[in-house]
């Protein structure tokens, strides 16, 4: 049984259909990349899994449980947390409070403390900025804070929406390295990226999304080697 199963979902914004029968799945221990151009529906996919958007048709199952109509807070409670596109930090709150908000659904203070230390190991920079207001962090630090905040939910599935967007090349390397590390520590990751090369290098498997449809799927290596993917997304 897959950890996350998205089956033939249709999602609409008003009358505009954003996803056309999209299906994908994430298994335990995987990094799965979802690539595609602007407006293909990548962010909509994550928003729908998180329950901010509900599909008109199709089902989403997590750990075998139907979460298609669940509310966002219940989905976080079940163990899916995402770091959204554009980071979306609580700009007027400190880094510490942002991280604490990540752990909002959790009660066990000792475990929260433990996970906070783990976040600081991954992102030592955040520890230095602990009491700084999040809106004043640099772009890279904000991305780290957003990922750290999502990790504070102790997710069974971590979803990252464009973690490398707008970052300097050296930081992009770091971020993908950290994605590997998070995965190595046992958290499956669903990674949405425009930087297809990097994403597919990190990912075990990948999906190519085009105007709301999955048009191709395979292992990261297969997709990197695929002619269509190369011309459309890798600029070769």
């Amino acid at each position: 049984m897959a950890l996350l199963e998205v089956e033939r979902i249709d999602v609409f914004y008003g009358r505009v259909q954003a996803l056309h029968g999209e299906s994908l799945q994430v298994d335990q221990g995987e990094v799965v990349a979802l690539i595609g151009s602007n407006g293909a529906g990548k962010t909509t996919t994550l928003r729908t899994i998180s329950g901010l958007q509900h599909p008109a048709r199709g089902t989403i199952k997590f750990n075998g449980k139907d979460i298609t109509r669940s509310e966002p807070q219940d989905i976080v409670n079940m163990g899916i947390c995402q770091s959204p596109e554009g980071r979306r930090l609580f700009a007027r709150m400190t880094v510490l409070d942002n991280l604490r908000m990540g752990a909002y659904t959790r009660r066990n203070q000792a475990e929260i403390k433990q996970d906070m230390d783990r976040v600081f190991e991954l992102f030592p920079r955040l520890k230095e900025r602990l009491n700084q207001v999040a809106g004043t962090l640099s772009g890279g630090e904000q991305q780290m804070c957003a990922m750290g905040r999502a990790l504070m939910a102790k997710p069974k599935l971590l979803m990252l929406d464009e973690p490398s967007l707008g970052l300097a090349p050296i930081l992009v390397e770091t971020i993908f390295q950290i994605v590997r590390e998070i995965n190595a520590q046992g958290t499956p990751v669903l990674l949405v990226e425009q930087n297809a090369t990097k994403a597919l290098e990190v990912a075990h498997r990948g999906y190519v999304l085009e105007t709301g449809n999955i048009v191709q799927t395979g292992t990261g290596k297969e997709l990197l080697a695929s002619k269509e993917v190369q011309t459309a997304y890798l600029g070769m």
């Binding site: 995402q82 930090l89 007027r92 409070d97 772009g139 905040r149």
Partner: protein
């Protein structure tokens, strides 16, 4: 992102000293300050402190009401025009308790006085604040929540309708009269030295308001729910993605806002000893002005704005003429909206 930055720049543009409009604005403020300084000096110290005390007490009530406006605006970007009437409801409900057998039971009747009223009065505050809070939660639930995804004008119109409804209910309940509110507070003046005094009544009002504001600040900044409320106000989607139940945080905001307004209603009754079903409309507008003055959505801003508007109110009444006070207050509203729409402490966080 780009649009957000532009929006932010747009709101701060009026701060630059380049435009002629700003020069005019600053001149108007200077002339007003000059004119008032002269009158204040002529009036003498004792009179000044009396007026100031009145202004601070008035301001404390504005501040309590303004906090609810600003918190609700902060979290769902709605100007809750019914808020002023929840304030009046606080006065009405507490008056109803005092004049009912229930009041006698807890030791409060219209003729009570002295130190014996302190405890029952505290009880009255708690019950009234709770009542107003529950009413406001119900209002949000039936009138605003179904419109959460509607265009912003829709809930605004509903809020005005809700205001009319509450006023109507109070009007039917007690009639359109000025109702006498019992005078529990001592009448004496507390000397401040140098012949200056402040009314004990004013001190009571200010102390209660400040205590409530301190509790609110602690709650908002320290408690988990308070932080979740701030998170919801700052980014609703992100808050949901962290597992925050936004219906709960929004309800909590209406709850707290109305509790403060309810407390303001009792204080208003105790201070002026008179209340009328339609008072809340105008009082709400003053408080709204205070919230805009401080920066709508900003909690400390609303508290400061309340006190500033209260002092302006008292000074205008005391040194100029009462019939110009109301136009003056609303001139300030227009003035702030034109020259500094973000208010005194408007949000200023750069976006990256």
């Amino acid at each position: 992102m780009a649009t957000a930055v532009q929006r932010l720049r747009g709101t701060f543009l009026p701060l630059s000293f380049n435009s002629g409009l700003n020069v005019i604005g600053i001149l108007v403020v200077l002339v007003a300050l000059f004119a008032s300084t002269q009158r204040v000096i002529e009036g003498g110290g004792t009179y000044f402190f009396q007026t100031l005390g009145f202004g601070l007490a008035q301001g404390a009530i504005f501040a309590l009401v303004a906090l609810g406006y600003t918190m609700v605006y902060g979290i769902i970007e709605l100007i809750n025009f019914a808020h002023g009437d929840v304030f009046t409801l606080g006065a009405f409900f507490s008056l109803a308790i005092i004049t009912s057998p229930l009041g006698a039971l807890i030791g409060l009747t219209p003729s009570s006085s002295g130190a014996g009223v302190i405890l029952p009065l505290l009880g009255l505050f708690v019950v009234t604040m709770l009542f107003c809070a529950l009413v406001n939660i119900a209002i949000e639930r039936v009138a605003y929540r179904p419109l959460r995804h509607a265009p912003r004008l829709a809930p605004l119109i509903t809020a005005i309708g809700m205001s009319a409804l509450l006023e109507g209910i109070m009007n039917v309940w007690k009639g359109p009269y000025n109702l006498a509110y019992p005078d529990f507070l001592p009448e004496n003046q507390i000397p401040l030295g140098g012949g200056a005094t402040i009314a004990a009544k004013s001190v009571f009002v200010i102390v209660i308001a400040v205590v409530l504001m301190v509790v609110l600040t602690l709650f908002i900044n320290r408690s988990k729910l308070g932080k979740a409320m701030r998170a919801t106000a700052q980014d609703r989607d992100a808050a949901q993605l962290m597992g925050i139940d936004i219906n709960r945080t929004i309800s909590a905001t209406f709850f707290i806002g109305a509790a403060l307004a309810g407390a303001g209603g009792i204080i208003y009754g105790l201070y002026y000893n008179s209340v009328q079903a339609f008072d809340g409309f105008q009082y709400g507008l003053y408080a709204f002005t205070a919230a805009v003055f401080g920066g709508i959505g900003n909690i400390p801003g609303a508290a400061i704005g309340g006190f500033v508007i209260g002092i302006v109110f008292a000074m205008s009444d005391g040194y100029f003429t009462t019939k110009w006070t109301i136009p003056l207050i609303f001139a300030i509203l227009i003035f702030v909206l034109v020259f500094r729409p973000t208010g005194l402490l408007g949000m200023r966080v750069p976006e990256k």
